[in-house]
C-alpha cells in the first residue's frame, strides 16, 4: 500500500508492506519515542492499523532550542 508520510524535514510517499504505524516507523528507521504521530489528522498510537492512501504526520519531540 501507499502511505504519505510528512515530517519537519521531509515529505514522501512510502510503498509499505506492513500494517501498523510501528512497522512503518521501523521501515523509516525512526523511533516512535521521538515523535507524536497522527493519521489522517488524528493522534494515534504506534499499534494503529494503516490503510492504502493514509496520511501520516510525524511531529518531532526534540526541538533543540
Amino acid at each position: 500500500m501507499k502511505i504519505h508520510v510528512e515530517s519537519r524535514d521531509f515529505k514522501k510517499n512510502v510503498l509499505f508492506k506492513g500494517s501498523t504505524v510501528k512497522q512503518l516507523m521501523k521501515e523509516l528507521g525512526l523511533s516512535s519515542e521521538n515523535f507524536v504521530i497522527s493519521k489522517n489528522g488524528e493522534i494515534v498510537l504506534e499499534d494503529e492499523l494503516l490503510a492504502n492512501g493514509d496520511n501520516v504526520k510525524l511531529f518531532p519531540v526534540i526541538s533543540g532550542g
Binding site: 493522534i43 519531540v61 526534540i62 526541538s63 532550542g65
Partner: protein, 298 residues
Amino acid sequence: MKCSRCSGKAVVELGYLDERLCATHFSALFEKRVRKTIAKARMLDRKKDKIGVGVSGGKDSLVLLYLLKKMHYDIVAITIDEGIKGYRDHSLTYIKRFCRKYKIPWKTYSLKRDYGFTLDSIPDKKLMCSYCGVLRRGMLNRKARQLKCTKVATGHNLDDETQVILMNLFRGELERLARTGPVTGMIEDELFVPRVKPLRECSEKEDVLYALLHGIEYTDVECPYARYAYRNIVRDMLNKMEERYPGTKFAILRNFDKMLPFLRKYYMPKEKPKRCKKCGEITRGPICKFCETIEEFS
C-alpha cells in the same frame, strides 16, 4: 486501543504509569500535574505575583503561556531576540499570533538593539549555548524587573531538568547544580527575579501532545547551534534509559529534589552578593558574566 480510564480512543501511552489515555484524560492529568508542581514548590501566588513568561515560540513556552493564562495568573510574555537568522525571526511570528489570539501582553527585546551585536556574529560556535544562556538569562532578569514582574516563569520540561542534573553531575559542577531546581537561585536579592519552572514534571513529548490537542501552533524549527551542544549526548542516553526503564527521568528528578535542600545548605553563599562594577547587577566577581560577554562581542 482504548483509554485505561474510559472507553475513549487512547492518544498516548505513559510507560511510567503503565496507562494509555484518551485526549480528555491526558489533558486533565497534564493540567493537574502542572498545578501540583506550582503548588508543591510554592512557585506562584495568584494574588501577589506578576509573572514574566520567557517565550521562545516553541512548544514548551507556548504551552506554559496557555496554561498560566487558563489558570488566571497575571502574565506578560517576554521574548529575547538574540538574533539567530532563520530561527528567531521565524518564531516571532508564532508568538505574535498566539499572544494576539489569547490577548496576552507581549514584550520583545533585541540583543542587537540593546547591545549592538547578534548571536550569529559570535565566531566561536561551539560555546554558543553558554553565551546564549548568559545573555538570555541576563536580559530576561533585567527586562522582567523593569516590567515590575515578581517572578519569571520558563518552559523547562522534565527532559531539560534531568539533562541539566546529569550534565552538572558529569562535569562535577555541584555548586551549579545547587542553583537549579523548581525555583532557581539560592540568594534573595532585590535585583534578582526568582525563576520558576511549572512544566518541570512534564516530558517533551507530553508538551508536544498537549500543544497539538489544544490547537497551540508552535515553531519546531531547530536552533542551528543546538548541534554543538553537549546536552545532545546526555539527551540520547537518557532517552534510551527511559525507553528501556520507564520512569527513569522521574526517578532522577525526584531524587534530585530530595538532595536539593542539602546541596543548597552546603553551597549557600556565605557573603551577600556583590554588585557588578559596570552595570550594578548582582555578581560574584567584580564584573558579572553578562557584562563580560557583552564586552567580548560588542
